[in-house]
Protein backbone atom coordinates (compact mmCIF):
# COMPACT_ATOMS: atom_id res chain seq x y z
CA UNK A 1 0.00 0.00 0.00
CA UNK A 2 1.41 3.39 -0.95
CA UNK A 3 1.13 6.21 1.58
CA UNK A 4 -1.47 7.83 -0.62
CA UNK A 5 -3.83 4.84 -0.58
CA UNK A 6 -3.38 4.66 3.14
CA UNK A 7 -4.50 8.21 3.70
CA UNK A 8 -7.63 7.58 1.67
CA UNK A 9 -8.29 4.43 3.68
CA UNK A 10 -7.90 6.28 6.97
CA UNK A 11 -10.26 8.96 5.77
CA UNK A 12 -12.82 6.35 4.81
CA UNK A 13 -12.71 4.83 8.28
CA UNK A 14 -13.82 8.05 9.88
CA UNK A 15 -16.57 9.51 7.71
CA UNK A 16 -17.54 12.93 8.98
CA UNK A 17 -20.49 15.02 8.09
CA UNK A 18 -19.78 18.28 6.35
CA UNK A 19 -22.28 21.01 5.52
CA UNK A 20 -21.59 24.45 4.13
CA UNK A 21 -23.93 26.17 6.59
CA UNK A 22 -24.17 24.90 10.12
CA UNK A 23 -26.49 26.11 12.87
CA UNK A 24 -26.68 29.02 13.74
CA UNK A 25 -25.02 30.17 10.52
CA UNK A 26 -27.66 28.23 8.56
CA UNK A 27 -30.47 30.04 10.32
CA UNK A 28 -28.99 33.45 9.44
CA UNK A 29 -28.32 32.43 5.87
CA UNK A 30 -31.73 30.90 5.05
CA UNK A 31 -33.54 33.37 7.27
CA UNK A 32 -32.21 36.36 5.38
CA UNK A 33 -33.39 34.90 2.07
CA UNK A 34 -36.82 34.40 3.60
CA UNK A 35 -36.91 37.98 4.91
CA UNK A 36 -35.82 39.42 1.54
CA UNK A 37 -38.57 37.48 -0.24
CA UNK A 38 -41.22 38.45 2.32
CA UNK A 39 -40.34 42.13 2.02
CA UNK A 40 -40.68 41.98 -1.77
CA UNK A 41 -44.12 40.37 -1.56
CA UNK A 42 -45.24 42.72 1.21
CA UNK A 43 -44.06 45.83 -0.69
CA UNK A 44 -45.90 44.80 -3.83
CA UNK A 45 -49.05 44.17 -1.79
CA UNK A 46 -48.72 47.42 0.15
CA UNK A 47 -48.09 49.59 -2.91
CA UNK A 48 -50.94 47.79 -4.71
CA UNK A 49 -48.82 47.29 -7.78
CA UNK A 50 -51.11 45.69 -10.32
CA UNK A 51 -48.98 42.91 -11.79
CA UNK A 52 -51.38 42.31 -14.67
CA UNK A 53 -50.84 45.88 -15.87
CA UNK A 54 -47.07 45.44 -15.73
CA UNK A 55 -47.43 42.53 -18.12
CA UNK A 56 -49.78 44.47 -20.38
CA UNK A 57 -47.38 47.43 -20.40
CA UNK A 58 -45.20 46.27 -23.25
CA UNK A 59 -47.93 46.28 -25.88
CA UNK A 60 -48.96 49.82 -25.04
CA UNK A 61 -45.36 50.95 -24.89
CA UNK A 62 -44.70 49.64 -28.37
CA UNK A 63 -47.84 51.30 -29.62
CA UNK A 64 -46.98 54.71 -28.13
CA UNK A 65 -43.39 54.54 -29.31
CA UNK A 66 -44.54 53.62 -32.82
CA UNK A 67 -47.32 56.21 -33.07
CA UNK A 68 -46.01 59.24 -31.19
CA UNK A 69 -42.23 58.97 -31.09
CA UNK A 70 -41.84 57.81 -34.64
CA UNK A 71 -40.72 59.04 -37.09
CA UNK A 72 -37.83 60.58 -35.20
CA UNK A 73 -37.33 64.23 -36.10
CA UNK A 74 -33.71 63.93 -37.26
CA UNK A 75 -33.73 67.40 -38.86
CA UNK A 76 -34.34 68.95 -35.46
CA UNK A 77 -31.11 67.58 -33.95
CA UNK A 78 -29.15 68.55 -37.05
CA UNK A 79 -30.04 72.17 -36.43
CA UNK A 80 -27.12 74.53 -35.72
CA UNK A 81 -28.63 75.79 -32.47
CA UNK A 82 -29.13 72.30 -31.16
CA UNK A 83 -25.63 71.22 -32.10
CA UNK A 84 -24.40 74.34 -30.33
CA UNK A 85 -26.16 73.14 -27.20
CA UNK A 86 -24.49 69.74 -27.56
CA UNK A 87 -21.09 71.47 -27.67
CA UNK A 88 -22.14 73.48 -24.61
CA UNK A 89 -23.04 70.26 -22.79
CA UNK A 90 -19.66 68.74 -23.60
CA UNK A 91 -17.86 71.87 -22.41
CA UNK A 92 -19.92 71.90 -19.21
CA UNK A 93 -19.11 68.24 -18.52
CA UNK A 94 -15.43 68.84 -19.30
CA UNK A 95 -15.11 71.81 -16.96
CA UNK A 96 -17.15 70.13 -14.24
CA UNK A 97 -15.09 66.93 -14.38
CA UNK A 98 -11.80 68.87 -14.54
CA UNK A 99 -12.52 71.17 -11.60
CA UNK A 100 -13.97 68.23 -9.70
CA UNK A 101 -10.79 66.23 -10.22
CA UNK A 102 -8.64 69.18 -9.17
CA UNK A 103 -10.55 69.33 -5.89
CA UNK A 104 -10.40 65.56 -5.60
CA UNK A 105 -6.60 65.34 -5.25
CA UNK A 106 -6.29 67.18 -1.90
CA UNK A 107 -9.73 66.05 -0.72
CA UNK A 108 -8.95 62.36 -1.28
CA UNK A 109 -5.53 62.74 0.35
CA UNK A 110 -7.11 64.28 3.45
CA UNK A 111 -9.88 61.67 3.46
CA UNK A 112 -7.53 58.68 3.19
CA UNK A 113 -7.10 57.27 6.68
CA UNK A 114 -3.52 56.09 6.20
CA UNK A 115 -2.12 59.36 4.76
CA UNK A 116 -4.32 62.13 6.18
CA UNK A 117 -2.37 64.97 7.86
CA UNK A 118 -4.53 64.60 10.98
CA UNK A 119 -6.77 61.68 11.85
CA UNK A 120 -8.54 63.70 14.50
CA UNK A 121 -9.53 66.83 12.55
CA UNK A 122 -8.68 66.79 8.83
CA UNK A 123 -9.85 63.22 8.18
CA UNK A 124 -13.43 63.55 9.47
CA UNK A 125 -13.71 67.02 7.87
CA UNK A 126 -12.66 65.76 4.45
CA UNK A 127 -14.85 62.67 4.76
CA UNK A 128 -17.81 64.87 5.64
CA UNK A 129 -17.17 67.21 2.69
CA UNK A 130 -16.92 64.45 0.12
CA UNK A 131 -19.95 62.72 1.59
CA UNK A 132 -22.00 65.93 1.46
CA UNK A 133 -21.14 66.37 -2.23
CA UNK A 134 -22.41 62.87 -2.90
CA UNK A 135 -25.43 62.99 -0.63
CA UNK A 136 -27.10 65.71 -2.68
CA UNK A 137 -28.08 64.62 -6.17
CA UNK A 138 -26.60 66.58 -9.08
CA UNK A 139 -30.04 67.81 -10.17
CA UNK A 140 -30.62 69.23 -6.70
CA UNK A 141 -27.22 70.95 -6.78
CA UNK A 142 -28.31 72.42 -10.14
CA UNK A 143 -31.63 73.66 -8.79
CA UNK A 144 -29.78 75.20 -5.85
CA UNK A 145 -27.14 76.94 -7.98
CA UNK A 146 -29.69 78.08 -10.58
CA UNK A 147 -31.73 79.71 -7.83
CA UNK A 148 -28.61 81.48 -6.55
CA UNK A 149 -26.81 82.37 -9.78
CA UNK A 150 -29.62 82.40 -12.33
CA UNK A 151 -29.91 80.43 -15.58
CA UNK A 152 -26.85 79.57 -17.63
CA UNK A 153 -23.74 77.45 -17.81
CA UNK A 154 -22.14 78.52 -14.54
CA UNK A 155 -24.58 76.78 -12.16
CA UNK A 156 -24.33 73.67 -14.32
CA UNK A 157 -20.53 73.64 -14.15
CA UNK A 158 -20.61 74.19 -10.38
CA UNK A 159 -23.15 71.42 -9.84
CA UNK A 160 -21.10 69.02 -11.95
CA UNK A 161 -17.92 70.05 -10.12
CA UNK A 162 -19.38 69.15 -6.73
CA UNK A 163 -20.91 66.00 -8.12
CA UNK A 164 -17.60 64.86 -9.71
CA UNK A 165 -15.53 65.82 -6.68
CA UNK A 166 -17.87 63.90 -4.38
CA UNK A 167 -17.62 60.51 -5.93
CA UNK A 168 -14.10 60.80 -7.42
CA UNK A 169 -12.77 61.74 -3.97
CA UNK A 170 -14.36 58.67 -2.44
CA UNK A 171 -12.95 56.32 -5.09
CA UNK A 172 -9.53 57.97 -5.00
CA UNK A 173 -9.34 57.94 -1.20
CA UNK A 174 -10.07 54.22 -1.29
CA UNK A 175 -7.22 53.75 -3.77
CA UNK A 176 -4.85 55.64 -1.47
CA UNK A 177 -5.95 53.53 1.48
CA UNK A 178 -5.17 50.36 -0.48
CA UNK A 179 -1.54 51.20 -1.36
CA UNK A 180 1.49 49.24 -0.24
CA UNK A 181 2.78 51.09 2.83
CA UNK A 182 6.33 49.74 2.38
CA UNK A 183 7.58 52.54 0.10
CA UNK A 184 5.83 55.06 2.36
CA UNK A 185 7.76 53.73 5.34
CA UNK A 186 10.98 53.89 3.31
CA UNK A 187 10.33 57.54 2.43
CA UNK A 188 9.66 58.44 6.08
CA UNK A 189 12.94 56.73 6.94
CA UNK A 190 14.91 59.06 4.63
CA UNK A 191 13.66 62.07 6.60
CA UNK A 192 11.10 63.19 4.01
CA UNK A 193 8.11 65.31 5.05
CA UNK A 194 4.45 64.39 4.46
CA UNK A 195 4.28 66.21 1.12
CA UNK A 196 7.42 64.46 -0.13
CA UNK A 197 6.13 61.10 1.08
CA UNK A 198 2.96 61.74 -0.94
CA UNK A 199 4.89 62.70 -4.10
CA UNK A 200 7.35 59.79 -3.96
CA UNK A 201 5.68 57.10 -1.86
CA UNK A 202 1.98 57.45 -2.69
CA UNK A 203 1.25 59.14 -6.04
CA UNK A 204 3.35 56.76 -8.15
CA UNK A 205 1.27 53.92 -6.74
CA UNK A 206 -2.11 55.51 -7.48
CA UNK A 207 -1.30 57.35 -10.72
CA UNK A 208 -2.90 54.76 -12.99
CA UNK A 209 -5.91 54.37 -10.73
CA UNK A 210 -6.31 58.14 -10.74
CA UNK A 211 -6.30 58.29 -14.53
CA UNK A 212 -8.91 55.54 -14.56
CA UNK A 213 -11.06 57.41 -12.05
CA UNK A 214 -10.61 60.58 -14.13
CA UNK A 215 -11.94 58.87 -17.25
CA UNK A 216 -14.83 57.41 -15.30
CA UNK A 217 -15.58 60.83 -13.82
CA UNK A 218 -15.76 62.31 -17.31
CA UNK A 219 -18.17 59.53 -18.28
CA UNK A 220 -20.52 60.16 -15.41
CA UNK A 221 -20.21 63.96 -15.60
CA UNK A 222 -21.18 63.90 -19.28
CA UNK A 223 -24.29 61.83 -18.58
CA UNK A 224 -25.19 64.16 -15.71
CA UNK A 225 -24.57 67.19 -17.95
CA UNK A 226 -27.32 66.10 -20.33
CA UNK A 227 -29.75 66.26 -17.41
CA UNK A 228 -28.70 69.44 -15.54
CA UNK A 229 -29.95 71.52 -18.49
CA UNK A 230 -33.42 70.30 -17.65
CA UNK A 231 -33.28 72.51 -14.56
CA UNK A 232 -32.03 75.60 -16.31
CA UNK A 233 -28.30 75.11 -16.50
CA UNK A 234 -27.95 75.28 -20.27
CA UNK A 235 -26.96 72.62 -22.74
CA UNK A 236 -29.16 70.05 -24.46
CA UNK A 237 -31.23 69.37 -21.33
CA UNK A 238 -32.95 72.69 -21.89
CA UNK A 239 -34.10 71.59 -25.35
CA UNK A 240 -35.32 68.35 -23.86
CA UNK A 241 -37.42 70.16 -21.29
CA UNK A 242 -38.94 72.60 -23.78
CA UNK A 243 -40.00 69.85 -26.15
CA UNK A 244 -41.37 67.66 -23.38
CA UNK A 245 -43.48 70.60 -22.21
CA UNK A 246 -44.73 71.26 -25.73
CA UNK A 247 -45.44 67.57 -26.29
CA UNK A 248 -43.23 67.62 -29.37
CA UNK A 249 -42.72 63.88 -29.00
CA UNK A 250 -40.94 63.32 -32.29
CA UNK A 251 -38.35 65.94 -31.33
CA UNK A 252 -38.04 64.44 -27.82
CA UNK A 253 -37.36 61.10 -29.46
CA UNK A 254 -34.65 62.73 -31.58
CA UNK A 255 -33.04 64.34 -28.52
CA UNK A 256 -33.08 61.09 -26.55
CA UNK A 257 -31.56 59.36 -29.57
CA UNK A 258 -28.81 62.00 -29.73
CA UNK A 259 -28.09 61.53 -26.01
CA UNK A 260 -27.83 57.77 -26.44
CA UNK A 261 -25.48 58.16 -29.40
CA UNK A 262 -23.30 60.72 -27.59
CA UNK A 263 -23.04 58.65 -24.40
CA UNK A 264 -22.22 55.62 -26.53
CA UNK A 265 -19.43 57.51 -28.30
CA UNK A 266 -18.14 58.87 -24.99
CA UNK A 267 -18.12 55.38 -23.48
CA UNK A 268 -16.29 53.94 -26.46
CA UNK A 269 -13.62 56.63 -26.15
CA UNK A 270 -13.40 56.03 -22.38
CA UNK A 271 -13.05 52.28 -22.84
CA UNK A 272 -10.27 52.85 -25.33
CA UNK A 273 -8.54 55.36 -23.04
CA UNK A 274 -8.83 53.00 -20.07
CA UNK A 275 -7.23 50.27 -22.15
CA UNK A 276 -4.33 52.54 -23.04
CA UNK A 277 -3.88 53.48 -19.37
CA UNK A 278 -3.96 49.82 -18.32
CA UNK A 279 -1.15 49.03 -20.73
CA UNK A 280 0.85 51.92 -19.26
CA UNK A 281 0.63 49.99 -15.97
Amino acid sequence: MTPRDMSIATAAEAPREWRRFRYPHSLVSYGSWLIAFTVIVYSIEYLEIPLDRVLGMFGRMGEILANRYYPVDIDYIMDVDYIGSVVETIQMAYLGALFGLLITVPLAWFAAYNMTPSRLFVYPGARFLSMSCRAVHETIWTILFVSILGFGMLPGVLALTLFSAGFAAKLFAEEIEAIDMGPVEAMWATGANLFQVMVFGVFPQVRVAFTGIGIYTWDVAFRAATVVGFFGAGGMGWYLKRNVMQIETERVAAIILSIIVLVLISELISAWARNVVMKMK
Binding site: G182, P183, E185, A186, M187, W188, A189, T190, G191, A192, N193, F195, Q196, V199, F200, G201, P204, Q205, R207, K281
Partner: protein, 250 residues
Protein backbone atom coordinates in the same frame (compact mmCIF):
# COMPACT_ATOMS: atom_id res chain seq x y z
CA UNK B 1 31.87 56.97 22.26
CA UNK B 2 29.05 54.84 20.95
CA UNK B 3 27.10 56.08 17.91
CA UNK B 4 23.90 54.59 19.26
CA UNK B 5 23.00 53.85 22.86
CA UNK B 6 19.77 52.07 23.59
CA UNK B 7 18.81 51.62 27.20
CA UNK B 8 15.89 49.91 28.88
CA UNK B 9 13.64 50.16 25.82
CA UNK B 10 9.98 49.18 26.09
CA UNK B 11 7.50 49.24 23.20
CA UNK B 12 3.95 48.18 22.56
CA UNK B 13 1.53 48.87 19.71
CA UNK B 14 -1.61 49.71 21.64
CA UNK B 15 -2.12 51.17 25.10
CA UNK B 16 -3.49 47.92 26.52
CA UNK B 17 -1.56 45.56 24.26
CA UNK B 18 1.29 43.35 25.40
CA UNK B 19 4.84 44.71 25.56
CA UNK B 20 6.69 43.78 22.40
CA UNK B 21 10.05 44.93 23.78
CA UNK B 22 10.77 44.47 27.47
CA UNK B 23 13.79 46.48 28.56
CA UNK B 24 16.31 46.13 25.74
CA UNK B 25 19.74 47.77 26.15
CA UNK B 26 22.79 47.77 23.89
CA UNK B 27 25.41 50.09 22.38
CA UNK B 28 26.52 50.30 18.77
CA UNK B 29 30.10 51.53 18.29
CA UNK B 30 31.52 53.34 15.27
CA UNK B 31 32.80 50.26 13.43
CA UNK B 32 30.23 47.68 14.50
CA UNK B 33 28.26 45.35 12.31
CA UNK B 34 25.69 44.52 14.92
CA UNK B 35 23.25 41.65 14.44
CA UNK B 36 19.87 41.23 16.09
CA UNK B 37 18.79 37.60 15.90
CA UNK B 38 15.80 35.75 17.26
CA UNK B 39 12.69 33.85 16.18
CA UNK B 40 9.75 35.42 14.32
CA UNK B 41 7.73 37.64 16.61
CA UNK B 42 10.62 38.26 18.99
CA UNK B 43 10.43 42.01 18.38
CA UNK B 44 13.40 42.44 16.02
CA UNK B 45 11.56 44.62 13.51
CA UNK B 46 9.94 46.66 16.26
CA UNK B 47 13.32 47.26 17.86
CA UNK B 48 14.93 48.44 14.66
CA UNK B 49 11.95 50.71 13.85
CA UNK B 50 12.17 52.31 17.28
CA UNK B 51 15.66 53.57 16.44
CA UNK B 52 14.48 55.88 13.63
CA UNK B 53 11.10 56.32 15.29
CA UNK B 54 8.97 54.62 12.63
CA UNK B 55 7.61 53.07 15.81
CA UNK B 56 7.40 55.15 18.98
CA UNK B 57 8.67 53.30 22.06
CA UNK B 58 6.67 53.53 25.30
CA UNK B 59 9.70 54.13 27.50
CA UNK B 60 13.48 53.93 27.56
CA UNK B 61 16.23 55.95 25.94
CA UNK B 62 17.69 55.95 22.44
CA UNK B 63 20.69 58.24 22.13
CA UNK B 64 21.87 58.57 18.55
CA UNK B 65 24.73 60.89 17.63
CA UNK B 66 24.28 62.74 20.92
CA UNK B 67 20.52 63.33 20.52
CA UNK B 68 17.73 61.71 22.49
CA UNK B 69 15.61 60.21 19.65
CA UNK B 70 12.57 59.56 21.83
CA UNK B 71 12.24 63.29 22.56
CA UNK B 72 12.21 64.41 18.91
CA UNK B 73 9.23 65.28 16.76
CA UNK B 74 8.39 67.14 13.56
CA UNK B 75 11.32 68.80 11.82
CA UNK B 76 13.92 67.69 14.38
CA UNK B 77 12.88 64.08 13.94
CA UNK B 78 13.12 64.36 10.15
CA UNK B 79 16.60 65.90 10.47
CA UNK B 80 17.70 63.02 12.70
CA UNK B 81 16.24 60.46 10.27
CA UNK B 82 18.37 61.91 7.45
CA UNK B 83 21.42 60.51 9.22
CA UNK B 84 20.00 56.99 9.48
CA UNK B 85 19.86 54.88 6.32
CA UNK B 86 17.45 51.97 6.22
CA UNK B 87 17.27 48.82 4.12
CA UNK B 88 14.14 46.68 4.11
CA UNK B 89 13.18 43.05 3.77
CA UNK B 90 10.75 43.72 0.91
CA UNK B 91 13.10 46.39 -0.55
CA UNK B 92 10.28 48.97 -0.37
CA UNK B 93 11.29 50.58 -3.64
CA UNK B 94 8.91 52.77 -5.61
CA UNK B 95 8.13 50.25 -8.30
CA UNK B 96 6.79 52.66 -10.88
CA UNK B 97 9.81 54.93 -10.73
CA UNK B 98 13.20 54.47 -12.34
CA UNK B 99 16.21 53.12 -10.49
CA UNK B 100 17.71 56.61 -10.62
CA UNK B 101 14.65 58.25 -9.01
CA UNK B 102 14.60 55.55 -6.35
CA UNK B 103 18.21 56.23 -5.43
CA UNK B 104 17.67 59.99 -5.52
CA UNK B 105 14.75 59.63 -3.11
CA UNK B 106 17.40 59.01 -0.44
CA UNK B 107 18.07 62.78 -0.63
CA UNK B 108 14.47 63.86 0.07
CA UNK B 109 15.40 64.99 3.56
CA UNK B 110 17.70 67.58 1.98
CA UNK B 111 15.36 68.59 -0.86
CA UNK B 112 12.71 71.31 -0.93
CA UNK B 113 9.06 70.65 -1.74
CA UNK B 114 9.17 72.35 -5.14
CA UNK B 115 12.25 70.42 -6.24
CA UNK B 116 10.56 67.25 -4.96
CA UNK B 117 7.45 67.89 -7.05
CA UNK B 118 9.46 68.23 -10.27
CA UNK B 119 12.06 65.66 -9.20
CA UNK B 120 14.68 68.35 -9.88
CA UNK B 121 17.56 67.10 -7.75
CA UNK B 122 20.80 69.11 -7.62
CA UNK B 123 23.66 68.11 -9.92
CA UNK B 124 25.75 66.94 -6.96
CA UNK B 125 23.06 64.48 -5.88
CA UNK B 126 22.81 63.10 -9.40
CA UNK B 127 26.59 62.60 -9.59
CA UNK B 128 26.55 60.95 -6.19
CA UNK B 129 23.70 58.64 -7.26
CA UNK B 130 25.54 57.64 -10.44
CA UNK B 131 28.69 56.88 -8.47
CA UNK B 132 26.76 54.75 -5.97
CA UNK B 133 24.91 52.87 -8.72
CA UNK B 134 28.23 52.16 -10.35
CA UNK B 135 29.55 50.96 -7.02
CA UNK B 136 26.66 48.52 -6.37
CA UNK B 137 26.95 47.21 -9.93
CA UNK B 138 23.82 48.69 -11.48
CA UNK B 139 25.30 51.20 -13.90
CA UNK B 140 23.54 49.44 -16.80
CA UNK B 141 20.13 49.71 -15.16
CA UNK B 142 19.98 53.40 -14.26
CA UNK B 143 16.86 54.19 -16.32
CA UNK B 144 15.03 50.91 -15.83
CA UNK B 145 11.91 50.81 -13.74
CA UNK B 146 12.48 49.34 -10.30
CA UNK B 147 9.99 46.52 -10.90
CA UNK B 148 11.94 45.31 -13.93
CA UNK B 149 14.86 44.26 -11.71
CA UNK B 150 15.50 40.94 -9.99
CA UNK B 151 15.34 40.61 -6.21
CA UNK B 152 19.08 40.94 -5.70
CA UNK B 153 19.26 43.97 -8.00
CA UNK B 154 16.37 45.60 -6.15
CA UNK B 155 18.13 45.22 -2.84
CA UNK B 156 21.21 46.82 -4.42
CA UNK B 157 19.02 49.80 -5.29
CA UNK B 158 17.88 49.78 -1.66
CA UNK B 159 21.50 49.88 -0.51
CA UNK B 160 22.32 52.75 -2.87
CA UNK B 161 19.25 54.67 -1.66
CA UNK B 162 20.28 54.27 1.98
CA UNK B 163 23.88 55.31 1.23
CA UNK B 164 22.61 58.35 -0.69
CA UNK B 165 21.77 59.81 2.72
CA UNK B 166 25.44 59.79 3.77
CA UNK B 167 24.19 58.05 6.89
CA UNK B 168 25.94 57.89 10.23
CA UNK B 169 24.15 54.63 10.97
CA UNK B 170 22.57 51.95 8.79
CA UNK B 171 19.52 49.95 9.86
CA UNK B 172 18.95 46.69 8.03
CA UNK B 173 15.61 44.97 8.52
CA UNK B 174 16.00 41.37 7.35
CA UNK B 175 17.82 42.51 4.20
CA UNK B 176 18.21 38.99 2.83
CA UNK B 177 14.97 37.20 3.79
CA UNK B 178 13.45 37.64 0.34
CA UNK B 179 16.60 36.46 -1.46
CA UNK B 180 18.17 33.09 -2.21
CA UNK B 181 21.23 31.95 -0.18
CA UNK B 182 23.82 32.88 -2.81
CA UNK B 183 22.43 36.37 -3.44
CA UNK B 184 21.96 36.82 0.33
CA UNK B 185 25.67 36.32 0.87
CA UNK B 186 26.51 38.72 -1.96
CA UNK B 187 24.22 41.40 -0.54
CA UNK B 188 25.60 41.03 2.98
CA UNK B 189 29.13 41.19 1.58
CA UNK B 190 28.30 44.32 -0.39
CA UNK B 191 26.76 46.05 2.63
CA UNK B 192 29.73 45.14 4.78
CA UNK B 193 32.29 46.36 2.23
CA UNK B 194 30.45 49.62 1.67
CA UNK B 195 29.94 50.16 5.39
CA UNK B 196 33.61 49.66 6.12
CA UNK B 197 34.62 51.87 3.23
CA UNK B 198 32.35 54.71 4.33
CA UNK B 199 32.89 54.07 8.02
CA UNK B 200 29.20 53.54 8.83
CA UNK B 201 28.15 51.22 11.65
CA UNK B 202 25.30 48.82 10.86
CA UNK B 203 22.49 47.40 12.95
CA UNK B 204 21.02 44.39 11.24
CA UNK B 205 17.97 42.23 11.93
CA UNK B 206 18.71 38.84 10.58
CA UNK B 207 16.94 35.53 10.61
CA UNK B 208 19.79 33.50 9.21
CA UNK B 209 22.13 32.75 12.11
CA UNK B 210 24.88 31.49 9.80
CA UNK B 211 24.99 34.80 7.96
CA UNK B 212 24.95 36.69 11.25
CA UNK B 213 27.93 34.69 12.56
CA UNK B 214 29.80 35.19 9.30
CA UNK B 215 29.34 38.94 8.85
CA UNK B 216 28.65 40.47 12.24
CA UNK B 217 31.06 41.23 15.07
CA UNK B 218 28.42 41.59 17.78
CA UNK B 219 25.14 39.81 18.32
CA UNK B 220 22.10 40.44 20.44
CA UNK B 221 19.65 37.57 20.71
CA UNK B 222 15.98 38.37 21.40
CA UNK B 223 13.23 36.08 22.49
CA UNK B 224 9.76 37.41 23.09
CA UNK B 225 11.08 40.97 23.63
CA UNK B 226 13.75 39.97 26.14
CA UNK B 227 17.53 39.91 25.59
CA UNK B 228 18.73 36.31 25.80
CA UNK B 229 22.29 36.98 24.65
CA UNK B 230 24.41 40.02 24.08
CA UNK B 231 28.06 40.02 23.19
CA UNK B 232 30.72 39.49 20.55
CA UNK B 233 30.05 36.85 17.92
CA UNK B 234 32.82 34.58 19.22
CA UNK B 235 30.93 34.07 22.50
CA UNK B 236 27.86 32.73 20.73
CA UNK B 237 27.54 28.95 20.89
CA UNK B 238 25.10 26.17 20.03
CA UNK B 239 23.56 26.06 23.50
CA UNK B 240 22.72 29.77 23.51
CA UNK B 241 21.29 29.51 19.99
CA UNK B 242 19.09 26.60 21.03
CA UNK B 243 17.84 28.65 23.92
CA UNK B 244 17.04 31.69 21.75
CA UNK B 245 15.20 29.64 19.15
CA UNK B 246 13.55 27.30 21.65
CA UNK B 247 10.20 29.00 21.29
CA UNK B 248 10.14 28.40 17.57
CA UNK B 249 10.56 24.65 17.99
CA UNK B 250 7.57 24.43 20.26
Amino acid sequence: MAVLQVSDLYARYSAKGPDILKGISFDVEGDDFFAIIGPSGAGKSTLIRCINRLVTPTSGRIVFDGQEMTALSGKDLRRARRDIGMIFQEFNLINRMSVMDNVLSGRLGYTGNLRTLFRAFPRDDIDHALRLLDRVGLSDHVDKRADELSGGQRQRVGIARALMQNPKLMLLDEPTSALDPKISREIMGLVKTMAQELNVPCLCNIHDVKLAMEFCNKIIGLQDGVTMFSGPTEQMNEATLDEIYAMEVL
